[in-house]
């Protein structure tokens, strides 16, 4: 626990001293708040057709302009933020559970288990995300579940590799040996002693996986393989707007800028947490 507290203190110091990290945190908090409380904010109704002119440019009444049905685009983008974040969080949670489990298994038991897990991770890692997206869309049809599956498939091998290597270093330390000598079962050792000590690395990977997840979601939805209209995600909004790219560029630009800001804020916060935990270690996620 004291380790966690000192990490928290280091993170706080970093946020105060480093403008870029602080900027990331502010943007992330803002986006999460807007995503959470969007429906109760006075932004307008995202579903109301002909609220304004068709494909109207940004104005005071419609800050992000209006789409081809005259819907105000700002509340739609807010809906998109919520969907994109939610989808990535669900996918990354699945990744965190599966990836941490197999990573710890491989790092703690080593030997044959390690080899099996590593080969499995290698196999998943060989499939590039968007290409897997095509295959999954062929198997399960396009949709949110496909997008979640693709994000998990793409991020699990990265997670396994990192958790495995952190577990390896933790498993060699004295308190783990002491606990084993005292007769603790492997599961107890892993959950009570190893898990709390790899949590930092897991959280850092979680943020990186999250930003990868958002990139994959938006790309798949843009290609029509992820979130389907009328539901809005930042990716599906990009797809809708791209039909009017030359006559109403504000549609693609507003969704695109919000999406880029979201990904950047998650990355910056991840970097800050990483720097607070292990100041000199290199980046682990490619």
């Amino acid at each position: 626990m004291s380790a966690l507290r000192s990490t928290g203190a280091a993170l706080g110091r970093l946020m105060r001293e480093d403008k870029l990290s602080f900027l990331g945190l502010v943007i992330l908090v803002l986006l999460v708040l807007v995503g959470l409380f969007g429906p109760w904010l006075p932004l307008g109704d995202p579903t109301r057709i002909a609220a304004g002119p068709r494909l109207g440019p940004p104005s005071w009444a419609f800050p992000f302009g209006t789409d081809e049905l005259g819907r105000s685009y700002l509340p739609r983008v807010v809906e998109g933020i919520r969907a994109t974040f939610l989808l990535s969080i669900v996918a990354v949670s699945i990744t965190a559970v599966i990836g941490s489990f197999f990573g710890m298994l491989a790092g703690y038991f080593r030997g044959v288990t390690d080899h099996l897990v590593a080969r499995g991770a290698d196999i998943l890692f060989a499939f590039p995300a968007i290409i897997v997206g095509l295959l999954v869309a062929a198997m399960m049809g396009p949709g949110q579940i496909s997008a979640v599956a693709v994000i998990s498939i793409a991020t699990i091998p990265l997670f396994i590799r990192v958790v495995r290597s952190v577990t390896l270093s933790v498993a060699g330390r004295g308190f783990v040996t002491a606990s084993e000598v005292a007769g603790a079962t492997p599961w107890r050792v892993m959950i009570v002693h190893i898990l709390p000590n790899i949590l930092g690395a897991v959280i850092v990977q979680l943020t990186y996986a999250m930003s990868i997840g958002m990139i994959i979601e938006s790309t798949l939805s843009y290609l029509g393989l992820g979130v389907q209209p009328p539901q809005a995600s930042l990716g599906s909004l990009l797809r809708e707007g791209s039909a009017y790219l030359t006559i109403a560029p504000w549609l693609v630009l507003s969704a695109g800028i919000v999406l880029s800001l979201a990904i950047m804020s998650v990355n910056l916060v991840g970097d800050a947490i990483r720097d607070a935990i292990e100041p000199l270690k290199g980046r682990t996620l490619t």
Binding site: R119, F127, V132, L134, T246, N267, G282
Partner: protein, 318 residues
């Protein structure tokens, strides 16, 4: 001898990975709703026709036999037949591969040309003065290809300048025209790579700068340029090579969205259109080829390690 000891296990692992990848891809096609016969024949099928198809494609045999048969055909270069054109899909992939390869090479070149120098400059400048590297890295890693590509298409279709959007011409026919079409998509694809290579180079350089032999070189009074060239870059090269090869592996397939955006007729667009046409043999071959390329590139990177790092295989590597 030490090199063989280093490379053999890696070749074995690559082969195991290849086998696993092909099993997954094979199984995936079995799970496509409706099954193979329905896809081939459409919804109105007589049981006789279905049985005939099943027999012709060996669908009535145990899955293991089917897999072995499929794998054997693969080894002979048979990646299946397009249901639309009834021609071998591998021919189409080979025809389009140079296009995607060109795109990937442009992206890799741009990524290296900007990522490495910026990373070194930012790493040598250190935490206090190297902030520009962090900003470029953070922005570059965060703008998805779709967003950047759309923005470029908007800008360059309103003000054409010199570039063109769409209308691909092969390099061999008209090199200048080809560049007018290919530079924008290549640039789009490169931005994530610039950020990735910049960040890796920066981290590696900063890491090496803290090590004792650099302090020694400074104390000896060596010129800063020589210190960076002789002591920093060589040691910082290893993580950069890893990340470059991984990036290149992803590039060849990450090209899907860029090819769709800019209508570049490479293997990514072909695979994507295969999916839209429910021509699953194309999707299957596309996924398999992407994974095989990725595995081969990783093999090459392992061999490169051995060339760069004399410690490889001697057991002295940290």
């Amino acid at each position: 001898m030490r090199l063989i000891g280093y490379l053999l296990p890696r070749i074995a692992i690559a082969l195991i990975t290849t086998l696993g990848v092909s099993i997954l891809v094979f199984l995936a096609l079995r799970f496509i709703p409706g099954g193979y016969a329905d896809i081939l024949l459409g919804p109105f099928v007589t049981p006789e026709a279905r049985a005939a198809i099943a027999q012709r494609y060996g669908l009535d045999q145990p899955v293991v036999f089917q897999f072995a048969h499929w794998l054997w055909s693969l080894l002979q270069g048979d990646f299946g037949v397009s249901m639309v054109t009834q021609k071998p899909v591998i021919d189409e992939f080979l025809r389009r591969a140079p296009v995607t390869l060109e795109l990937a090479m442009i992206a890799l070149f741009v990524a290296l040309a900007f990522g490495v120098p910026l990373g070194i400059a930012s790493g040598v400048a250190g935490r206090a003065r190297g902030g520009f590297g962090r900003v470029i890295g953070a922005v570059g890693a965060s703008v998805p290809d779709v967003v950047l590509g759309s923005a470029l298409i908007f800008v360059f279709s309103v003000w054409s300048l010199w570039f063109r959007v769409g209308g691909y011409v092969p390099f061999s026919e008209a090199p200048v025209e080809n560049m007018r079409v290919m530079l924008l998509p290549g640039l789009t694809l490169s931005v994530f790579g610039v950020a990735l290579i910049l960040r890796t180079t920066r981290d590696a350089v900063m890491q090496v700068m803290t090590e004792g032999h650099i302090t020694t070189a400074v104390a000896r009074g060596e010129r800063p340029r020589d210190i960076i060239r002789l002591h920093v870059l060589r040691n910082a090269a290893i993580p950069v090579v890893t990340v470059v090869t991984t990036y290149f592996g992803f590039l060849l397939s990450g090209a899907v969205v860029v090819e769709v955006l800019f209508s570049i007729p490479g293997i990514g667009l072909y695979t994507f259109n295969g999916l839209l046409n429910r021509d699953y043999a194309i999707v299957q071959a596309g996924v398999l080829i992407a994974a095989l390329v990725f595995i081969s590139i990783n093999m090459v990177s392992d061999i490169l390690y051995a060339a760069i790092d004399p410690r490889v295989g001697t057991g002295n590597r940290r």
